[in-house]
Point group: C2
Chain length 266, copies 2
């Protein structure tokens, strides 16, 4: 499995991904799911990949070949981000079509989903989610992030924290917390965690982190988050009956609403 | 959709459920998914239900009829909780078999999943998850909770907080936070939230809460949790480059690791 998230902010873009792939519980490997392409000062692209590893590798290889061979369409030729997303969608569908028949006979699917983000000079920075069918969606001010793979465990914290005005540092931490929570709850999502922070209009990548399990910052962050969240939890308001529970043990009766139940007829 | 959770603690059992059902986005209804059966002082049972509503209603009706008709096997006759789970599993499979053919032709499934918990006099309190196939699992000291329905959004907070030694009050709050996070992230899970707290060896239900959206305690809890978690988040350790980012804007260079990229050949 996989978990990747990308966030579109006023200040720029954040990309984060885990690195675990598995084909069955006994075929677990580590592969980077974050891939960058850039012409510094002119255009930058980040691809996050989830799904069939053969498909995602084939799509990424084709993208590289198209750039190197000066193909008619490539990340060098596209003039805006949505055009790049359409190009990735087309490659994705083409690669899947090659193997759908053989894979479906074996009970597998060639499906792959990508997040493509970046900026082309003169255009705004954007992120897109490219579906296995080749179509794609982008963010909005109310939904400033996109997730692929095992996305549910890590969504609540993003829902709570992320707004377009969130600073890059906070959003990066939130992405890390989101991935860490996912790794705790699902063993098919695993380290290292890669994070790439893109500052709007820089047209170059400055901050890239690849955090192994024993990375000092990651350990400190995990410990702090665990402590802080437990503290946050301890400080929640109590129920009336919790105070009463102590009294009751000393002989006082507790009142409580009762749920209608099926009782034995006497 | 549905989200229900049950927790087995040293002090007793916690049950919590949402109340939203939907058959498509335009057929959304409110149904209680928490059902209790008891002979006070002798045996208490709680059923949480997820899946096909016709199946869950049919199973619950059959359970009530078996009790009322003095059937050979019912919640009155079972001598331990696992026997009760096997009985529910059998009813579940039987009800599904009646409709599988017709439903599958229409592209539906009769699958239902239950959590059954409670205590029979002289036996320990236990909870079981009963699968659509009729088999069932219980908890362990490392996995003291069971979830059915839309369970992923609300799992990380349970993973972090719940241990067998967690007090009933804390576990109840954790279940509420877990359901609230799920409702925020998925509209098919909705209020009212029902919560039932069972104190070990009481053989009667004392604390039952049915929290509507505008319930005072629920509103206070939601607000407090949102504030506390944002505070917990704000207090996380910063990245080096966040301090540097300020300096850089005044002309200092920031160092950063770089991810290998495909660059344009010159």
């Amino acid at each position: 499995m996989t978990y990747c998230v990308a966030i579109a902010l006023d200040e720029g873009l954040i990309f984060a991904s885990d690195s675990r792939t598995n084909a069955g519980a006994d075929q677990v490997s580590t592969y980077s799911k974050m891939h960058t392409f850039d012409v510094e000062g002119e255009r930058v692209f980040v691809m996050l990949a989830a799904g069939n590893l053969a498909t995602t590798q084939a799509v990424l290889n084709q993208m590289r070949r198209d750039m190197e061979d000066g193909a008619e369409e490539s990340l060098y030729t596209v003039t805006h981000m949505a055009e790049a997303a359409a190009y990735v969608g087309r490659l994705n569908r083409q690669e899947q079509e090659k193997h759908t028949d053989a894979l479906s006979k074996a009970g597998f699917t060639p499906d792959a989903t990508f997040i493509l983000g970046g900026q082309i000079e003169g255009e705004p920075p954007e992120i897109f989610m490219v579906y296995p069918q080749g179509n794609f969606i982008t963010t909005s001010s109310h939904t400033p992030f996109l997730q692929i793979g095992e996305s549910k465990y890590g969504k609540p914290i993003l829902d709570r924290i992320i707004e377009p005005s969130t600073p890059l540092g906070d959003a990066t931490r939130c992405a890390l917390v989101s991935i860490d929570s996912t790794m705790r709850s699902n063993v098919t999502v695993g380290p290292p965690i890669e994070v790439l922070i893109y500052e709007k209009d820089k047209l170059a990548f400055d901050h890239y982190l690849c955090l192994e399990t024993d990375d000092d910052y990651l350990l400190t962050l995990k410990r702090a988050w665990d402590e802080n969240i437990k503290k946050a939890f301890r400080e929640l308001p109590r129920f009336d009956w919790e105070a009463a529970q102590g009294r009751k043990r000393r002989g006082t009766q507790v009142s409580a609403k009762k749920k209608k139940t099926v009782k034995k007829k006497k």
